[in-house]
């Protein structure tokens, strides 16, 4: 649920990067932080959580314009995958406006992806949200590893595994090289704003 900050004339929304551990969530955010430095306000918060790092920073998207005269500010987060970090997950996922699910293209991570997506559904449900109604974009990360001869799943296969019921936009990506990272976020922002506009009948 986006927050209206009338004092600053800002609409603050929250986009969360979710996915299996070591799948590239933090690499996505690190790339965004570096590549879009000018749009980042404040520092990047990095917390060492077991198995993964939890990142956070504020981001000002360009080109989305103003909504009813308010600037849009986006909080970008990653969620720690470990089950025990329920308090962090709760804070991050409560009021989430959009989700980027970063899936790992490695053949051996197939089951991990599916379990993580189910976990996302479960967690969203706990905070009263349906995965089918939350703006969601999938990223099939690590596509660059095919060049190194590492067995990857085909995009088709991943779509079938993860996107069959959801039917949301999906992007191939390589967070290490930055491919697809911007496009993924842009689409997620688009979906998020569309959903917020619908929710609040902002369409002008």
């Amino acid at each position: 649920m986006a927050i209206f900050n009338l004092k600053k004339r800002e609409i603050e929304c929250k986009i969360v990067y979710y996915g299996p551990g070591r799948g590239g969530k933090t690499t996505n955010l690190e790339y965004l932080f570096k590549a879009y430095k000018k749009q980042v306000t404040g520092e990047m918060v990095s917390i060492n959580t077991e198995g993964d790092r939890t990142l956070f920073f504020d981001f000002l998207p360009i080109g989305l314009g103003k909504i009813r005269g308010c600037d849009v500010r986006v909080q970008l987060y990653t969620v720690p995958g470990q089950v025990k970090y329920s308090s962090t997950r709760k804070l991050v996922l409560r009021g989430v406006d959009g989700v980027v699910f970063v899936a790992d293209s490695l053949d051996v991570r197939r089951e991990k992806n599916m379990l993580s997506l189910q976990d996302l559904q479960k967690n969203l449900k706990e905070y009263g949200k349906s995965i089918f109604k939350t703006p969601l974009v999938l990223q099939y990360n690590k596509r660059d590893l095919a060049d190194d001869g590492i067995p990857l799943m085909s995009i088709e296969q991943m779509n079938k595994d993860l996107n069959r019921q959801l039917k949301v936009p999906s992007f191939p990506g390589s967070a290490v090289k930055g491919n697809g990272v911007g496009a993924t976020l842009k689409e997620c922002l688009k979906q998020t704003l569309k959903s917020l506009q619908k929710e609040f009948k902002w369409a002008q």
Binding site: V45, E50, T54, L91, E111, L115, Q118, K122, I131, Q165
Partner: protein, 396 residues
């Protein structure tokens, strides 16, 4: 505090946690003092803010971040924020969000003491029915690892025929199916299942030569995934004996409650218990501890007392009654009482091993069990809706 201090925000920590409060004060860019008090903590705590950022904290002898982080463990208590000028040194230099995420991490890592009563009560889902409406049960995301083949069915096509033999079990990949029972008054639809739900009851891999208890018809075009029955059967065989018996009983309970829905719908005479002649075995009550009993002989009636009297099921030898944290049936003890006849002999069953077995199951198997429980709870509410409509309350 000086005289110009104004109390601008107060509330309950149980409703708004410290992480949320810090974000709220931050978003407002407020300057002032946040006071937290908790009856389980020896001292109240004070947090000082300048322009929305925490600059210092005090709790007992502690100051700065050492005083602030433990406050994330306060799950109950009151907070109040007063807007006032804050003097003194900036002791805390960490960013607001950094403090929040670090504090919550410390809490989850078990490095902060949780202060407050441990309240982890799950909230039961409520579903409303208008009576004639056929409820739709929605399923979780499908785990394709267990799908070995796919089959397509067209609108109106029968997937399963009641009374036929069959041991296949499917998961619905796309579309909706209707579960219907053949009755003297024709085919009666009971429930609809959506994607992620399972077609075929738990009994399909429990009993060889299983007889289908209901018909399943495609509503619109439907895509089903055939489940790897060997893998499921193997997993089932590997479950503790007690857990397998519990699943069989869950399936029987679903059938018993469904039978009452059908009888009510078709206006048949329902067998009703003579509650006055029976002894209450488990009362209907809200806060329920985890308890489970297995019936060795005799029988029990699961009977809802509030808000309206309604008999839900008759259970007998080999069945389980009680409350398990992972099965939400909307029956006893929160939503019904259990009455026993004179012959009843039961034995108490330890819950922990069953919980452990449930936690250890594969996601597909868990989904199947959850689906069966969801069907029991939806059927129970359906029974309540149908009874109310027909005005045939089951107590004499």
């Amino acid at each position: 505090m000086n005289s110009s201090a104004k109390n601008v925000l107060t509330g309950d920590l149980k409703y708004l946690g410290l992480g949320d409060i810090l974000q709220l004060i931050g978003a407002n860019g407020s300057t002032g003092v946040l006071k937290l008090s908790c009856r389980f903590a020896p001292h109240p705590a004070l947090l000082y803010f300048k322009d929305g950022n925490p600059v210092d904290a005090r709790c007992g002898d502690l100051g700065g971040l050492d005083a602030l982080y433990p406050l994330f463990g306060w799950t109950e208590g009151a907070f109040e924020f007063t807007q006032e000028a804050v003097h003194g040194q900036k002791v805390i230099n960490k960013s607001r969000m950094g403090i929040i995420l670090e504090g919550l991490k410390l809490k989850d890592d078990g490095k902060i003491e949780i202060i407050g009563p441990d309240s982890l009560l799950g909230v039961a889902k409520t579903t409303g029915f208008s009576g004639e409406e056929i409820p739709l049960v929605k399923g979780p995301l499908v785990d394709y690892m267990y799908v070995v083949d796919e089959e397509d069915f067209f609108d109106g096509e029968h997937i399963v025929e009641e009374g036929r033999h069959g041991n296949w079990m499917w998961v619905i990949l796309e579309g909706v199916v209707e579960i219907a029972k053949e009755t003297s008054a024709g085919t009666l639809p009971i429930l609809r299942l959506g994607s992620g739900c399972f077609v075929g009851s738990l009994a399909t891999f429990l009993v060889h030569g299983n007889i289908r208890a209901a018909s399943v018809v495609a509503v619109g075009n439907v895509q089903l995934g055939v489940l790897d029955s060997q893998r499921l059967a193997q997993e089932y065989a590997g479950l503790p004996r007690e857990f397998r018996h519990l699943l069989v009983s869950l399936d029987r309970r679903l059938k018993a409650t469904t039978a009452r829905v059908i009888a009510t719908r078709t206006g048949k005479q329902l067998i009703s218990p003579d509650l006055d002649a029976m002894t209450p075995f488990l009362p209907q009550r809200d806060a329920a501890e985890e308890i489970l009993h297995v019936i060795h002989s005799g029988e029990v009636w699961v009977h809802r007392e509030r808000p309206k009297p309604l008999t839900l099921a008759r259970l007998g030898k080999g069945d389980y009654v009680g409350h398990l944290p992972f099965l939400h049936l909307r029956q006893e003890p929160e939503f019904a009482a259990v009455y026993a006849d004179a012959e009843l002999v039961t034995e108490s069953v330890p819950v922990a091993p069953l919980k452990e077995a449930y936690e250890g199951m594969s996601s597909t198997f868990k989904n199947i069990v959850d689906n069966a429980a969801a069907c029991v709870s939806v059927t129970t509410e359906l029974l309540s809706a149908v009874s109310e409509q027909k005005g045939t309350l089951t107590t004499n």
